[in-house]
C-alpha cells in the first residue's frame, strides 16, 4: 500500500471514530447525588423507537427525582460490555441497558460488579436474572390484541395484514396477539402474515405492503422497526379513508397522518422511570422480572387513535381492554396458544 491509500484510510478511520465517539449525552449534574446511566443499543438515542422513549423516561428522573443522568450510544454490538462497564465502574446507582440485544452483556457485567444495579428492557434473560438486575418486559401481545380488534372492526374487505421484522419470540408475541384480536372482533376476517427477516430494509416493507394491499388487504399492522417505514411510504400513495397502516412502539401517525389508524405504544419511558424511582425510594427488589401490560399502562393505544377511529369502535376496543385487564380474556403470546385461542 502506498502513501496515498494510507492517507485515505487514516482519514476515513478518523471520520468513523469521530462519529463513534460523538455519542455522549450529558444530562447535567444535580445535587441529589443519585446517578442514572443509560446505554443504547445500535439504534442510538434518537431512533424514533424504544431507545428514544427510554431516554424520555431517564430525563424524567432528572426533572422529578433530581438524578444526574448520562447516556452512552453503542455503535456496534461489541460496544455493549465496555459501555456498561464504564457506568458500573463510575459507580452509577443504576445503569439501564435498552433492548434485548444486551441479553449476553448484562449477565456478564452484572456478575463483575455485584454491587452495581442494572436494568434491562425487553428481555427476561431467559429467566436467569442476576440478583442486581431488574428485567423489564412488556405484554406486547395485549397491546397488539387491541390493534387486531381495531383492524378487524375497520376492514371492509375482511382481509388484514401483519408485517413482522426478524421472526423471534418477541415479534411472534405481536403476531399472536394481533391475530387473536382480529379473530375476537371479526371472526370472518383473515390475516396475511409476512416476515421481512430484517429490521432495517424499508424496501422490503414497501413491497410487502404493496402486495398485501393489492391482494385486497386494507389494514396492515407492523412490528418491524425500520422495515415499517416502507409500509407508511406505500399507504400514503393509496386512497384516503380506504387503506390503513398501524404503527408500533411509539405514535407513528406523523409518517402518514391521513392513513394511520393507530399505533401500539410501549411505555418504555414509564417503566424506566417507575423502576428508577422505586430504587431511589429504596423499594426496589432487583433480581426479578417486571412485566407490564394493559393493566399497568405499559402498552396501549396512541392518543391520535381517535382522529380516524369512530367513537363506537373505540368503545368496543375499550370493552376488550377491560376484559383483558380483569382476566376474562387471556391473550395468546405464542403460535400454540394462538391456535388454542382460535379454535375455542
Amino acid at each position: 500500500m502506498n502513501k496515498t491509500s494510507w492517507v485515505a484510510l487514516l482519514l476515513s478511520a478518523v471520520l468513523v471514530l469521530a462519529v463513534g465517539c460523538g455519542g455522549q449525552q450529558n444530562g447535567g449534574k444535580a445535587d441529589s447525588g443519585f446517578t442514572v446511566g443509560m446505554v443504547t443499543d445500535t439504534g442510538g438515542l434518537n431512533d424514533e423507537s424504544f431507545n428514544q422513549t427510554a431516554w424520555e423516561g431517564i430525563k424524567r428522573t432528572k426533572n422529578e427525582l433530581g438524578a444526574e443522568i448520562k447516556a452512552l450510544e453503542s455503535k456496534r454490538d461489541e460496544d455493549y460490555v465496555p459501555n456498561l462497564t464504564k457506568f458500573a465502574r463510575d459507580g452509577r446507582d443504576i445503569t439501564w441497558a435498552v433492548g434485548f440485544k444486551f441479553e449476553k452483556a448484562i449477565p456478564e457485567v452484572a456478575s463483575q460488579f455485584p454491587n452495581a444495579k442494572f436494568g434491562i428492557v425487553d428481555s427476561n434473560l431467559g429467566g436467569k436474572i442476576p440478583d442486581n438486575v431488574t428485567a423489564v418486559t412488556f405484554k406486547e401481545e395485549e397491546g397488539s390484541f387491541l390493534m387486531g380488534v381495531l383492524a378487524g372492526l375497520t376492514t371492509k374487505t375482511n382481509k388484514v395484514g401483519f408485517i413482522g421484522g426478524i421472526s423471534s419470540p418477541l415479534i411472534k408475541k405481536f403476531e399472536a396477539g394481533y391475530r387473536a384480536g382480529v379473530h375476537a372482533a371479526n371472526p370472518k376476517a383473515t390475516v396475511q402474515v409476512a416476515y421481512a427477516e430484517s429490521f432495517t430494509d424499508a424496501t422490503k416493507g414497501r413491497s410487502l405492503a404493496q402486495s398485501m394491499y393489492n391482494n385486497g388487504v386494507d389494514v396492515i399492522f407492523h412490528a418491524a422497526g425500520g422495515v415499517g417505514k416502507g409500509l407508511f411510504d406505500e399507504v400514503k400513495t393509496r386512497e384516503k379513508g380506504k387503506f390503513w397502516a398501524i404503527g408500533v412502539d411509539m405514535d407513528q401517525s406523523a409518517l402518514a397522518p391521513d392513513h394511520t389508524l393507530s399505533s401500539m405504544i410501549k411505555r418504555v419511558d414509564v417503566a424506566v422511570f417507575e423502576i428508577t424511582k422505586e430504587l431511589k425510594e429504596g423499594k426496589l427488589q432487583p433480581g426479578k422480572q417486571v412485566e407490564l401490560g394493559l393493566k399497568e399502562n405499559g402498552v396501549g393505544l396512541a392518543e391520535t387513535t381517535s382522529k380516524h377511529v369512530p367513537a363506537d369502535v373505540l368503545k368496543k376496543v375499550d370493552e376488550f381492554k377491560q376484559k383483558i385487564i380483569n382476566g376474562e380474556i387471556k391473550v395468546p403470546k405464542t403460535e400454540e396458544e394462538l391456535n388454542q385461542f382460535l379454535t375455542k
Binding site: N2, S207, S211, N214
Partner: protein
Amino acid sequence: MLETLTNILNTTVLYSTPLILAGLGGLFSERSGVVNIALEGLMTIGAFTAAVVTIVTGNAWMGLLAAVVSGMILALPHAIASITFKADQVVSGVALNFLALGLSVYLVKRFYDGAAQTPVVPDKLEEVAIPGLSQIPVIGPSLFHAFPTTYIAVILVLVSSFILYRTPFGMRLRAVGEHPQAAETAGVSVILMRYMAVIISGALAAIGGAALSISIGSEFNQSTVAGQGFIALAALIFGKWRPYGVLGAAVFFGFAVALSLTGQLYGLTQYLPSEVLNMLPYVLTILALAGFVGRAEAPAAIGKPYEKGSR
C-alpha cells in the same frame, strides 16, 4: 393468479431499480480498468445528498440532481488515488465506503439535532402511471406504473449500451480497460478516459442511492443502502460487465427477493421457514456466480494501474 404475478413483478421492479443504476455505475469504471468496490459508498452519499437537498429545496428532482453531483465529487478521490497515484484500487474503494457512511451519518446528526435519520422528505419521485400502457393486465400495474427512477434506470441501460458499443468515446473507454498501452499508442489518453469513467460511475451509483431515499423510500439513515452496493457489484460480474447483463442480473436478484417475500403471502412458509425464504436471493446469487453463468470475462486491464511507457 394474475394478482400473484403482478405482485411478483412489482417487487422485482422495486428491488432491481437501485441495483441496475449502481451496477451500470460499476460498469463504466471497471470497463475502463478501474475496480470500483466503492459502489456502496457512492450509493450512500447519493442517498444522503438526495434526502437532504430534497428537504432543503422541497423538490425531489433537485435532490436527484444534487445526488449526481455528490457522487461525482466523492468518486474523485477514488480516481485520484487509483489512477494518478496508482494506489491499490480495492483499498481506495474500501476507504471510500467507510468515508461515505461515516461522513453521511455524522452530517445527519449535525444537521438534524442528533437524530439517527433525516426527517421524511417533503417531495418524492413517486410512482407514475403511463397512460394507456398501465391498463394492460399484469404488466401494466407493475412495469408501467413505476417509479421515475425505474424508467431512468431502463433508459440508462439503453444509453450506456449505445455509448459503450456505438460511440468513439465508448470504444476508447473499453480499449483503455483491455489494453491501455495499445490505446495510448493510438493517441487515447488513458488517464483522462479513466478519470471520466470513474466520475460517470459515481454519478450513476449516486442515482441508485437516491432511488432508495427519495423514490422508493422517503428518508436517509445508516441502513438505507445496507449492502446493496455490493449486490450491485455482484450483478455487474454476474452480468459479465455488459449493460444488458447488468439489467438481467439485477432483475434476477429482484425476482429472487420477490419470490421470497410474496411467497410468504401464498403459504410458502408452511414448507420453508421465512428465514430460509429470505436467504434465497443470496443463495441464488452465489450459485449463479459460482457456475451457472460460465466464466466471467473481466476487462483484461482491470485493477492494474497504468504506467505510461510500460508494456
